[in-house]
Symmetry: C2
Subunit: 317 residues, 2 copies
């Protein structure tokens, strides 16, 4: 079967791996693409030349479509986009910025552009900017998140009725049941971050992965609301920033406390105490560390079983 | 068709109206039950003798099953339960307390007991306490809410794998698509609060209803986290409590500022400035004020269309 998402990207399954900082290198992206999904390289944690290397290695590792996720507030954004264009990348997911800035230029180079939003207001801006598809990401998602705190259950139907271009759901999805739920709400594809962060090919440290497998409900929280809302594990680093927020620390104090390189320290270097550990709520449901191919296959299999179950039982009221 | 929820309660559709303070009187409960769902009277905003009156009027208005929602921290809990038993109520939903306290006693009187939770940890306690079904309510829901902030998308599969008794999903559900999504995640019924609060039969004030129809994404927020997390409309009352929390007010200060009778003032009396306005995130998707019967029928119709669509197209990958 195909739908607008599989047709747009030329992929077998409408499953996309989020372009996550310190997790989404060429190994994960190519593994997801080889399994029939769309793998994304996360440029957010890469210097431009590192990104070039990952794109080149990804091209060597798969002949299937893959993409790059680019946070638009990236300081070296011009250089990043030049590399993406010159390396012949076919798919770009932009986030954290104005979709009008880069969409046309990228499309002129034959690149399919998808923008990530957390509200229907910005989804409408995306459609106006001419993007090819939208990712709508709910409150459950790990890492950077929307100020409206709208959950995936509420966000997807709201965005679906606001735009007519293809819609990908993200936030809280890690299973075939989650994929079917997203489709019932109006999505045509799913982007999974946390589920792919916890795979063999994810470049996160073993310490970070092991910690995430142990997380229970309530062990992540949307934090750093004064700066930029971010879902984190409640570790010592989180406790120190939250204590500061609770006593009314200013934005400047918060910035200083946060410092730089915290997510690298936590996710990539495995410093579980002082690092910023970004992961989604769905981590509480995850307790294995399989290959990305296994994830793609098992999500599709579970989705198909659920569709088959509905079809055979035809449970109407 | 039937499932474990329709069979348990003896109802036609697995749709339950939440027992909401100042919204869920006998008019709404009987209208939902007459339409084939399960209507609940919300005891949380009623003096014991007022509850008795609502139960008696509900019995007169419908010969279908209906229930009463009882927050277990209610000060006159013994009196409330005596009234429920003596009036021959057949279904009780308990919330905000230990399910062990009342389940057995109520069941001895032939009452079906369902308990509302916001985590799988408490869902397991419910099963151990012998309740007949569980409502798992996500972060999106209006009013009182869990400290873990787990969204419905994540909570339902997590609770589903933790217990084997029937499971009702709540939080962010207001459409047939939402109902199918909840079923895909493992639920067998849905409890809708916000959607039924915004109907003709809801006893909320016209001012409150009119305001809720205008709400956009991000206009409600989980607040009062130092006392008991509650989802509110961001009105002047919210601003004053949030300002106090932001400057580090103590629990005692917060209690004093909150005062008493705030939700009555807001929801029932229509004081949109000083009142506490409890409503769910899904209000952003709602812009009409139909009868409860229309809601039940349209949710079922949309759900059936979506099932038929899946069945006829059999969209597997």
């Amino acid at each position: 079967m195909s739908n607008r998402i599989t047709s747009l990207f030329g992929i077998k399954y409408p499953i996309i791996s989020g372009g996550m900082v310190w997790c989404s290198g060429w190994r994960l992206a190519s593994a997801v693409s080889n399994a029939g999904g769309l793998g994304l390289i996360g440029a957010g944690s890469m210097h431009p030349e590192v990104l070039r290397e990952h794109i080149q290695k990804c091209k060597a590792a798969t002949d299937k479509p893959f993409g790059v996720n680019v946070p638009l507030m990236y300081p070296q954004i011009e250089e990043i986009m030049d590399i993406i264009i010159s390396e012949g990348v076919k798919v770009v997911f932009t986030s954290a910025g104005n979709p009008k800035l880069w969409t046309k230029k990228l499309q002129e180079h034959g690149i399919i552009v998808t923008h990530v939003v957390s509200s229907s207001k910005f989804a409408i801006k995306c459609e106006e900017a001419g993007v090819d598809a939208v990712v709508a990401e709910g409150f459950e998602a790990g890492g950077h998140n929307g100020r409206e705190e709208t959950s995936t259950m509420v966000l997807i139907p709201q965005v679906r009725q606001s735009i007519s271009i293809p819609l990908i759901a993200a936030g809280g999805i890690g299973t075939g049941g989650g994929m079917l739920a997203a489709f019932a709400l109006g999505a045509e594809g799913v982007q999974m971050g946390t589920r792919f962060a916890l795979t063999q090919e994810s470049s996160a440290s073993q310490e970070f992965k092991d910690l995430c497998l142990e997380l229970k409900e309530g062990d992540t929280i949307l934090s750093l609301k004064k700066l930029s809302p971010t879902r984190l594990v409640k570790n010592e680093f989180y406790n120190s920033v939250q204590t500061a927020e609770d006593r009314g620390a200013s934005v400047e104090e918060m910035r200083e406390l946060l410092g730089r390189g915290r997510s690298k320290k936590g996710i990539f270097e495995g410093n579980l105490i002082d690092g910023e550990l970004e992961i989604g709520q769905i981590s509480s449901l995850i307790n294995d560390l399989p290959t990305a191919e296994h994830i793609v296959n098992s999500v599709v299999a579970e989705y198909n079983i659920k569709v088959e179950d509905i079809t055979s039982r035809n449970i109407k009221f």
